[in-house]
Every structure is written in C-alpha cells, then in structure tokens.
Symmetry: C2
Subunit: 734 residues, 2 copies
Amino acid sequence: MYLDRIFKAESIAIIGASKDETKRGYQAIKTLQDEGYEGFIYPVNPKETTILGLRCYRSVKEIPGKIDLALITTPAHTLKNILAELGDKRVAGAVVIAGGFGELGEEGKCFEENIVEVARENNIRLIGPNTSGMINVNKGLNLVGLQNVPQGKIALLTQSGNMALTLITEAGLKSQMGFNYYVGVGNEADLKFHEYLEYFTEDPDTQVILMYVEGLREGRKFLQQASRTSQVKPIVLYKSGRSAKGSKSAGSHTGALAGISEVSSSAFKRAGIISVEHSDEMFPVAESLALLPILKENSIAILADGGGHATIAADYLTELGIKMPDLEAETRQKLAALLPANASLANPIDVAGGTDQNPAIFADCAEILLSDRNIHGLLVVGLFGGYGIRFAKKLAFMEEDAAHRMGKLVRKTSKPIVLHSLYNFAKPHSLDLLRYYNIPVYDSLEIACKCVEALSIYGSYRRESHAESHFQFNWGAKAIPEGQAIIDNALMEGRRALLEHEAKELLRLQGAPVSMDRLAVNEDEAVKIAADLGYNVAIKIVSPDILHKSDAGGVKLRLKNEQEVRKAFKKIMKNAEEYKPGADIKGCIVSRMSGEGVEVIIGTKIDDQFGPIVMFGLGGIMVEVVKDVSFRVLPVSEYWAASMLNEIKSAAILDGVRGRPPCDKQAIAKLIQKVSELIEAYPLIHEMDLNPVIVHEDGLTIVDARIILSEENVERKKRLSLCLTETRSLTEKR
Amino acid sequence: MYLDRIFKAESIAIIGASKDETKRGYQAIKTLQDEGYEGFIYPVNPKETTILGLRCYRSVKEIPGKIDLALITTPAHTLKNILAELGDKRVAGAVVIAGGFGELGEEGKCFEENIVEVARENNIRLIGPNTSGMINVNKGLNLVGLQNVPQGKIALLTQSGNMALTLITEAGLKSQMGFNYYVGVGNEADLKFHEYLEYFTEDPDTQVILMYVEGLREGRKFLQQASRTSQVKPIVLYKSGRSAKGSKSAGSHTGALAGISEVSSSAFKRAGIISVEHSDEMFPVAESLALLPILKENSIAILADGGGHATIAADYLTELGIKMPDLEAETRQKLAALLPANASLANPIDVAGGTDQNPAIFADCAEILLSDRNIHGLLVVGLFGGYGIRFAKKLAFMEEDAAHRMGKLVRKTSKPIVLHSLYNFAKPHSLDLLRYYNIPVYDSLEIACKCVEALSIYGSYRRESHAESHFQFNWGAKAIPEGQAIIDNALMEGRRALLEHEAKELLRLQGAPVSMDRLAVNEDEAVKIAADLGYNVAIKIVSPDILHKSDAGGVKLRLKNEQEVRKAFKKIMKNAEEYKPGADIKGCIVSRMSGEGVEVIIGTKIDDQFGPIVMFGLGGIMVEVVKDVSFRVLPVSEYWAASMLNEIKSAAILDGVRGRPPCDKQAIAKLIQKVSELIEAYPLIHEMDLNPVIVHEDGLTIVDARIILSEENVERKKRLSLCLTETRSLTEKR
C-alpha cells in the first residue's frame, strides 16, 4: 500500500535531534530505542556527533542509506529547505511537528499551502503540520515520545495530541484492548483523514478505527471512504466544534472549519460511522466493537442483581432506542426454576438476591437468556465481580466459574455480553477473566449502555444494504442546453440570482412539477395568461432588483377574474416603483393557484466540510421557528431522500392529521432526488430554495423557487493570489 | 428533632440476630461493633444466648433498658407481633429489611398499609420496608452491614441499595468527600422522602442531600419540603423510571409510580433541585456542591493545555448553557505577557505549551483569570497533575506549588475551580493537594462540565427569589355558590363531564374570558341569540351523550345570517340523531366567532406523583404532533404561569412571526393562574381542557372548554374495602 513506507518505515531521520531530555528531538529517539524499533535511526543535528549512542549527521545529505520517513522537529521556517533535502534522498514521508500554520488564520494558511506545494514537488507526503506525531505500535515505530502504548487492534486518528494521550492512558488503565496505530492528523495540510482511513481499512490488523475530529478538510472524500470502510470495519468518531465557542477553539487549534453539526451527524450516520457525543464514550465504544460480536438484532436482555441498576439501564437503553423484548415462556419457566419467587422475570431481569449465595447463577441466567430466540445480547449490571469482596471470599471462585462460562457463551452463541460492575476498580480476578474472553467491563452504567447501542447501530448498518451511499456525484445527471442557456444568460447579465420564472424553467426542464405559470410583461398579457391557465391565479413581480417580493408588495394571490387581475397588476407595478424607484422590472409571473396540500420547503446549499447539501422541512413555523429540518449530503437517491421525511419531529403531519388526507410523500422524495440531479448537472448552482412546495394527496407543486449561482472559484482565486504575494514576506519574517 | 431517636439512636435491638456470617442479623451487629458504635446493642433471637460477645435476648420484652431503634431482619409475616412488642417498649423507630410488600402489586400494598397501621398504633416510625437499612456514619450507627463508608457532609437517600453501594464505593475510591447519613428509603410505606429531607435540612452537619428516586409516594409534600431545603442547601437528584420499561422495573422494585417525566423535571427545577440525567454524574455533582463555593454569575473561563480538551469542554458547556465571556483587555495583556505567542487568549484559554517547562504557570493563569470581573469560576482541563509523570520529575514540585496556590485562590476569591485531569487515576501528590483544598478532580471532561453546570444552576437559584413556589393550595381561592351548584347539579344527574356551557359558566364565574355564547334549545332561540350576540356565529351541539362534537357533525362555524343559522341548526340535529340515536340533546350553544389570534391549549390533570398539574401548548399540530408542551405542578402564580410560555420550542410564535403581531402573553399567564385558582376552589375537578383558546393582540377568548369531575375517593374506598377482606387471608398464608 502506498503509505507503507511511512507507516512501516524501515529507516527514520530525526531532523532536529537533541541531547536535551525535554526536547522532542531527544524523546523521539529515546522512545524508538526503548520500544525496540528495529529499523535505522538517523539523528540529524549539525552541532552534535552522537546522540543516545547513535551517530548524529550534520545534514540529511550525509545519511548513507535509504530513508523512508523523517520526523521534523525544527521550527516552521526551516521546512522548505529540509523538504528539498529530503526530496533529494527520495524520502517517502515527513512528520511535521511545528505549529504556526493554518491554525493562525489567513497568513498561516498561505504558508501552509506553500509548504504542501514544496512537499509535492519533492514527492513527500506530510503528516501534520501541528501534529503530535505518529506511532506504529507493533513495530515500535513511535515518533510521539509517549511510552507504554498498549497494543491492540484499534487505529487511532486524532486532531488533538491530548485526546490521544487521554485515550491511550485510558486503554492502558482499564482495558485489555489497545492500539496498533496512532496518527496525530494535525492541520491535515497534505495527508487527510480519508487517506489514513483508506490505509487502515486495508490493514488486516486493524479492527476498529477511532477518530477525534475538529473539522474535515475534505469532508466529501472522507464520507466516500468512510462508507467503504464501514462495510468492512467500524469507525467510531467524536466530532468537536459543535458550538460557536467550540468551533472557534477548534479553528485556533487546527485551522479547521467545523461545519453545521446536524449535517455532520446525518452524514456520518449514513456512512455507517458510530458517532459518540461525549468524549468519555470514545474508548469504551471502540473497545466494545473491537472485542465483541455485533448485535444481530436490536434486542437485548438486562440481567441485574438490584432494581436500581436495572431501572437506570432500562431507562437509558430505551432512550437510546434499544429494544428489550419480553422473554419466551420457556425462558421464563427456566429462570423461575432457578431464581427466588420475588425475582423479576420481565426484561430487565432482577435476580432479587438469587445470586447472593452463588454468583455462578449469573452464568446460568446468561445461558438461559441467550438461548431465547428474541434475545440477541446481554447487559449484566450490578455487583458481579464484587461478591467475593463484599460477602464471602468463596463466592469469588463461583464468580470465576461464571466468568469462564459467560466468556465461552459469547464464543458459542456469537451474541455479545457487556458488563457493568461497580467493583471494576478493585480489579477482581473474575473481571480479568471476562476480559481474557474479550468481554469488556465498565464502571459507568451509562457507558455500558452506550456500548450496547454501538453494537446495535453497527449491527443494523451491516445488515442493511447501503450500496447507494457513495457520496459521489456520479449519478449520470447531465445539463441540457436549454438549462445551461438560462444560467449562462444570467451570468452574462452579471446576475447571480435567477429570476423566478428562470429558476422554475430550469426545474421544469429537469422534470420537476412547478406551478403552471408564465411571464407577462404587461397588464393585457397578464389577463390573457390568466384566462389560458384558468382562474384563480396569483401574480408576482419579476425583477432582478427585487429579491423579497412580498416585502415590496409584489405578490397578489387568489385573483378570481379579469378585473381583479388588472387591479392587481397595476397595484404591483405601483408598489414596485415606490419600493425601489428605477428598478429593472421584467414584468409579472402569472400562476394558477395551487390546490390544497401540505407546505414544505426544500433547499440546497454548500456546506463548509461536505459541499452540496439538501435540507427538508415543513413550510411556515416548523422551519422558521422550531428549526425542525433534516439534512443530507448530496447526491441522494430516492431511498435517502425518503428517509429525510421521517427524520423531522413533525413527520406525522405528512401522513395527515386532524382529518386531513396523507400527502404524497413519494412525490417529495422524487423531487429531492431531482434537486440532487440538478445540482449534479449544473455545478454552478450555489444555493436553491423551493419555498413553498405544496404537496397534494397526489403529486405536488413548486410554487416559488429561488436559485443563486456560485461565483465559481472567484473567492478561491482571490485568496490564492493573496497567498502568492504574502508568502514571501511571511517566510522572510520567520 | 423528632427523628433524632432514630438517626441518633443510643440503643438498638437487632430482631433476628444470627451467628451465620452470611445473615444480615450477624452482619449488622458485626458492623456496629467494627464501626465503634457506642450505644447499646441488643441482639434478639430465641435460639441463641450470646452473639459476637453480646448477650442475646429471647424476645424484645426481655431487654432491660430503653430501646430507641429496632432493626428487623425477620420475614414480613412476623412483623405485626414484633411491632406490638416494640410498641410496648416505646421504641421510636424500626428499620424493616423484608421485602414482599407494595412492590408485589395490589395484594402486597394492602398488607403494607396494614403493617403501617399497626406501626402507627404503636407509635413506631418505619424505615422501609424493602430497604437496605440506615447509617449514621459519624456515630458508627451502621445497620447496613456495609463497612468503610467514607465520612463527609453528604446525606444519601436512595430507593436502591445497589445505588447506595455504587455511590459509597465511588466516594471512597475517588473523593475527599463522603457521607454523614445514608437511608435506604425502600417502599416509603411510612417515613417518606420529604420527612427525611426535612430532617437533613435541619441537620447542621449536612451540606448536600443526594437522592436516587424511583417514584414519590407524596410528591407534593416532597416538593414543598424541597423548596424549603433548596433555600438552605442543595439537593442533587436522579429520577429513574423515565421510560415505560424503566417505570415497570421501578414498580416491581419499590412499588412506586413513576409519573410523567417532564412533569417531574419542571417541578424539580422549580423546587431548586439539581437533577442529573445520568447516574454516573450523581456523586461528582453532589461532591462539587459540597466542596466548592457556588458560581455567583453564570460565567466561567476554561484553562487548557491542549486544543482538544478546550474544544470539547467549550462545546459541552455551551450545550449546558454556561457562558464563557471574552476576557477583559487587562486580563488578556497579563496572560499575553506570561504565555507563548501562539497561546489562545480567547475563552477557552489554551496555554499552547506555555506550561510545559513550568506547570506552576497554571496558578498564575488562574490568578489572572479569577481577577477578571467577567469570570466567576474556572474549569482547568488537561494534563495538570501529570507533568511530573509525563515529562520530568521536577515538574511535579511545580505542580504542587500550583496546587497550593489554586487552593488558596478559591478560598480568597470564593470563586470555584473544577479540575479535569487525565492523570487523576495515577493519584499524583499535586491532585491530592487540590483535594486537600476542596478542589475536586475528575477523569471525565463531561462530568467536570456537569459539575460546573450544577454550581451555576444552584448559584442562580439562590440569587433569585422563589418565595412563591410553596406547592401548596393556600392561595385563598374559594368556591362560589353558583359554581358549586353547577358541579352538584351534574353529579346529581350522574354525570362526570360538565356540558360545554356549564364548563364555560364556571370559568366565567372565576373571571376568565370565555366566548360570548348561550344555550339555545330550539331553532328560533338560536336565531334570537345569534342576533343578540351579533353575526358571525358558531353553533355547537350540547349533549351529555356526545363528547366529541366534531366527529358527530355537531359543529358549524362562521354562520353569517339567520338563514345560515337555521340551516346549521337543523343539520346539527339531524347529524346528532344519526350519530347517536336517542341521545339526550340539551340544545345547541350559539357563540359569537372569536377574533383573529394564536390558538393555544391549556389543560389540567392529576399526576400520579404530584396531584393537580397544568399543561400549556400551542393549538393544533404543535401539541398533537410535535408534543411541544410545558407542565407545572399547581398552584401557579402569574410568574410561574408566564414561565411556561417561554419553555415550549415554538415560543417565538407567541411573539408574532411572519408579520403577525405579538399576542397577549400576559393574558395567557393570567388565565393559567385563574385555572390554578379554579382547581383550588373546586377540588372535585379532575381534568380540564381549554381547547382552543384564541389569544388576540389584546386579551383572549376561551372558545371551547371541557371539565371532568373526579369520582372523589370512590376508587380509593373500593381498594380499602378490598384490603380489609384480603389482608386476613394473606396474613394467614404467610
């Protein structure tokens, strides 16, 4: 694989090697040695001859053999020359520790782009800059200076060195599962999340990929890769920068744009990613997915030795959408024979003291429960592991017996068991045994529940076919000449906004059901069109100078005859003249009033991280006041479009409430799909707003449409030219 | 205080004392001895002469001295006789361990009521039954058999023995703060949550009360006491049984009714209670409130040594509603002088390596930040405590210096500091020092943030005056004879539902603005009333046999003249006859159509835990589909009524959207207050539904009203008589 020379480097140059123990250039070498790295280590520092027993080179040039990878610990301003030297030696990759790039704002971004350019010229892929480094745990290839990273099957990708430290510390302390790789992604200047993801997807040693993300530079490519990865192994992701404060903090940290939080979560979900909302859930969830079989159905049993824990777990799992079905009659009978009369045999199962004298009964219960056809996994909550501590020492041996049996049970049934134990901290042998059998144990009831949720979410993702979610604009939608002409004409006139009738024409050409209407340039024409369309009609002003038609008194609805049309036309013209004297007025659109139905809004825009996205919501207050909307990254198939409808809180309205008939949901899904095609066919469309769309019992009508064209790459071009002029002065300053 | 003889008992009888180490009757005595209890211990068991070196009595009668408290470990069926014997000895209280009462359903409830009766006759207060016991930690009065309970200032009240064990275990392991009392509340058969709460409120040694609640038997009394308690010391509460599964589990556990979750949370908030949503937040939040000064304003700073932690904390605190204001210019200057150029001086503050060589700089930053006038508390996140472990040993001494200074800073400024450290588990000396100064330290970033939130919530509760929230129907509302006559008349006719015009009359008598309308018994009368009221009008069927008027075709709106009224009246009568042949039709209500406005709904009902409650929401889909409603336990003042309006998601609609004028919010608040008075004045009202209420720019109109009367205590009486007949057979069975 093309990143093998980086992740499995057989020779490493340490640029900025040092004898100072507090310096990275010392720590990295020390760690490589301590961790038993078997490749070549080449310290580089013009002022030293040996460091930690290794010969120190005055420059990269002097190094005799092949170099796969370089760790650059020197300041940002030294990078250009170093990269050139590394290029001469055909080095495959460089880990750049220095900060002072994109995270400092526009100036830094220019400098960063410049450095990437130099790296490309020299065929060097960069990790970072502004990174804590990279580790291949199994090879002892540890460039982070962080020792005793526990080995395991989780690949860790983060944009925060401290979060890496947090997770590695947690794994070492609490788990049997550790890491095989760690990458501090830093500013993602060259190598990006999706490239690392691809590498770890293909790596047979990696079972789970765990990520801390502040912002994605190439969000769309990331989703594309994540969809492929999720078909093979789970991705667990914490996304920060959800609030304004957090987003600002992320920006000053890695220069990332955080994007809209709701867009991220729906896109991640669609790509099969397991999103966690709290950072303290990251490791446990990844661990559970790495250790346990997934849930084959979303239905588990809770086995408790106390009502409190049972109740808390049942509440929380319900909130998380996990089903706890009733037990089969046979299961209940078997449990009843085993447990005291006051035990609760509903799900959750409370043994009610039934294990006090013999905690091995937990294993009996587990065996009975996991042989129930409705039960696909088990959450054991309470004191297990602590009976020998709390009651009598001999009970510990029974707990160990139970641990062996539960461990084997998971292997035999391929149904997962997750444990909560309040004696986890005391590290009793029985819990170590469970870990030996790959059953994780948690102190926190809530975190144990989150792990069950992850096993269910990932299980259901793998069961369902999501072949369509490639997040790629390759659905074959092509612009047609008449449509392109409308756009070209607007651009030629220097307009970014299409006029209403132009926007509707574009939609009509795509096969979308717009309202029946035409442009009238004078009163008589308006009357004629109205008669053609049939009463009653609406009239709306058309002017590139008037964007908010209602505010300008430019809309008259429900006109029932010629007289009303004439009166309305005159009034609109008068209003427009008063609203904006000298406005360029193209005339009025005359539309047949739409039939009854539910008002919805469909819009598209460009997201910071993911590019084109589509939004759906109910018209009126539900969007404006309650902000009840759903998002999808485009393109969307009809399947994914339809899934947007059920995601809003007010979804039931589409099915008809208060005696109204259900509206045509399929027509909405089809329209969203058409919008998706339109965005693919006409990449110049920057923003689209279909508002309102009236959805009838059968079909729908787009009553108003607004389309804004992008300024193409004008903005980006502006920034690039700024870069060219500023980079020199910045480089000189440094 | 009246419970002193229980909680500070100087002599204890252990009924069911035993020599078997696995038995409670052994463990309790052993624990009392081990914990240094200095009072008298009287084991009672007819088969033994001595237990653990103490003389064992054959019966309670034989005990020579005074007995304050009894621990009863024998089965349920022995209770009656034992209570009688204890009564003879003038014992003040008994802790009843046995289960088999209310948690088993109706039969068990009867038996439970019976036992309480016996206890009352004998002047004995009961803790439990179905309890794990009670502990006065400082006195060594430990009846739970749970050793090494860490001492402190938190009183713990739970309905789950395992949750008690969880919290006590956690405190011992992770905190400098422990408990002074523990009560396993059990089934709350006699002594109830509010009585314990009162005791701990008056106890000067208790700083925080921590509760795990499955259901409240006397919810209203609990709220009354909690409001008083919160004025003095904080209550931290986890409420379980939020889901159907959880509620069922709670029911089988303690026989509690869980009630509506949203009602509980709004009531708890109003009573100043700090509710936590996750059980793993219970202890940390209580600990922080016990150790730290509260936040004088809702505004803190985050101090981080890494962007990741800073971003996560900023995101989460934003979600929790905590403000992180910009720093004063002076503060920024001082920090800039101290920290490297790439440090982030916005809030969150990221030292960006500025503490790597000297972590004592944390204290410098803390001093600067807490002297900023906008900053009232500090959350320190990241590696503090681990510099000496991770980098160089000498840094540990600097961390200790910082710990001393931060500790003194909290004392000096009375501004709280909360710490997150990923090295907490390693127990470095610097973090022990922080604990010595009462600064808590957490492994979990999220939990540290929740503690900050609690300090803010409780701080703001104490600043504001909540004198009105007594949760008592003592607002002086009285029934008037005409109103009572309407109710009496309906009852005499054997109806629980008031007819629309009766309900409206009751509201009108209370001074509520109902629509102008009158009952017409025939078509001519309808025409006359319509002319009197002025067109246009609505006509609605009035029949005790037709509850859903619209479904029966019994409503006609917007009638504009005599002809339309006649036609409508005829049609309604015809429809009614078809809908329910032979229905008792009283006539039709003729109402003047209400003016324009926003439709709202106000309803009351009886909650399982709290009794009368009121609900508010917007009419139509917002209530029916989106379930966007707010609740209050009655009675409510105008202040609390007004607060309901801002709590719904669609609150902005009341202020006018899409060009509509704002509606008269004060009128709504006044109406809710009037509803509150009505419920106080007429306790026979079981349920009320004002739907719709049209709120105008000025004033409002109650367009339709439904009132259902309670069956008084018929249900309860039925159950009691059942008890009397069944208890005997049950007692015999046992």
